[in-house]
Amino acid sequence: MNLLKEVQEMLNGYYDSFSRLDIEDGQDAGKFSEIIARTGKDLKFREKLLQEPVETLKREGFRLPEGFNLKFVEESENTIYVPLLPFMGDDLQTDGKSRFSKLEEIVQMAATDLDFRNQLIRNPDSVLKKKGFEIVPDKKVVVLECTDDLFYAILPAVENSKSDEPKSVKIEIQGDTVFLSGRLDLNGVDQVRDIFLKWEGSLNLDLEKLDYISSAGLGLLLMTLKKLNNSSSELKLLNLKPAVRNVFVLAGFDQLFHI
C-alpha cells in the first residue's frame, strides 16, 4: 500500500471539502487538488507555495480567515507524514464509510479520541504498526498536528527531480534469478528490499554488474538469506566482481555466503 499517496489523497479530500478553503466564486470542489497537482509541474509556483502559502492561496482565489495558517511540507522518500486534524471530539461527523481506508480511520480516530491522539503523537511508529502499517526501519514517521489555526498539506515529490541521476541500483528479474547492477548502498537497498523480502522459493542473485556494496547491502542480503533459509530455500550469489567480493571478505560475510 502506498502510504504517501494515500495521505495525499486523503488530505486533498479534506481540503477540497474544508469550508474555510472554499473558493470565492462557484463551489469548485477540486480546486485544492488542482493546486497540488500544479506544484508537480510548475516549480516556481511550488516554491511560492512553500514560502508564502497563505498569500499564494489567496491569490489563487481561496478565502482564508484572518490568522489562519497553512504550511506545506515536501514529501520525501524517507519520511512518512501523518497529518492530524484538529481535535474535534464528538463534533466530527463521519458518514461511517471510509473512503481512504486505514489511514483515514487513524486520522479520524485521532480527531475524536484524545488518548489515541496523544499516543499517536508520542509514538507514531508503534501506533501505525499496531494498525497494520508496515514501517520499514529507515523510514521516519512524522506527525503533523493541525490545529484550528494551522493546517499542514503535503506536496508530493517532484517527479523528474532526480531523473538526471540514474538510480543507484538496477534490477532485472528472469525466472528465479535477479540481476543487480550499480550500487547496493543505503540508497539502493530501498529499491530492492521489497523484492527480496517478498521472494518465494530459492533465489539466484547475479552480481556480475554490481560495482559496489556497503554494510546496508550486506545487511539486506543477510536478512534475505535468513528468510529464505527459514523456508528451506536457498540464496545463491553469482559472479561477484573482485571489489564486491573484497567487501564480503572484509565483513567476514564470506563465512556466511558461498562466494
Binding site: N78, T79, S214, V247, L250, A251, G252
Partner: protein, 151 residues
Amino acid sequence: MRKAIKVSNKIEMTLPADVQFIELAAKCVSKMARMAGFGNDDAFNIELAVDEACTNVIMHAYEKDSSKIYTVICVYNQNSFTVEVQDHGKPFHFEAVPEPDVKSRIEEQKVGGLGIYLIRQIMDEVNYFEETDGLKRLVMKKYRSGRSNDK
C-alpha cells in the same frame, strides 16, 4: 626549519544529512585518495569507509533528520590520508561497538555495528572524539604503506 603549512591538499564538504548525498561525499574522498597516490583498491575501500561513516551520522547521530548537516574533511601528506567526519548529533558509543561475531549473525540477524567494523578493517587508525561544544569527530587515517604493525 619548519615548512609552511600547505593547505592545498585539504578539502572540506558540508552536506545535508540525506542519504542521497552519501555517494557524492564518498566518491569525492575516493577521488582525493587517488590524487594522493593511493591505488584503486585502497581508494575503493576508503570510499566504503566514508560511506559507512556518513551512514552512521545520518541514521544514528541525526536519526534521519535531513534538516541537519555534517562535515567531511579530508587531508593528506607524505605519510597518510586522513578523513574526518564531524556532526553535532547524538553521541555514539564508539568503543562499545563489539566486533561482530559472524557466526551469530545468521541466527540473530544482527547487522548493527557492521559499518564501524568495516571502517576499522579498512583504515589504519580510527578514533572518535566528543568535544565539549557537542561536536563529534570520527577521525580515520590510512597510511601509505598499509597498516603499521608496531602499534
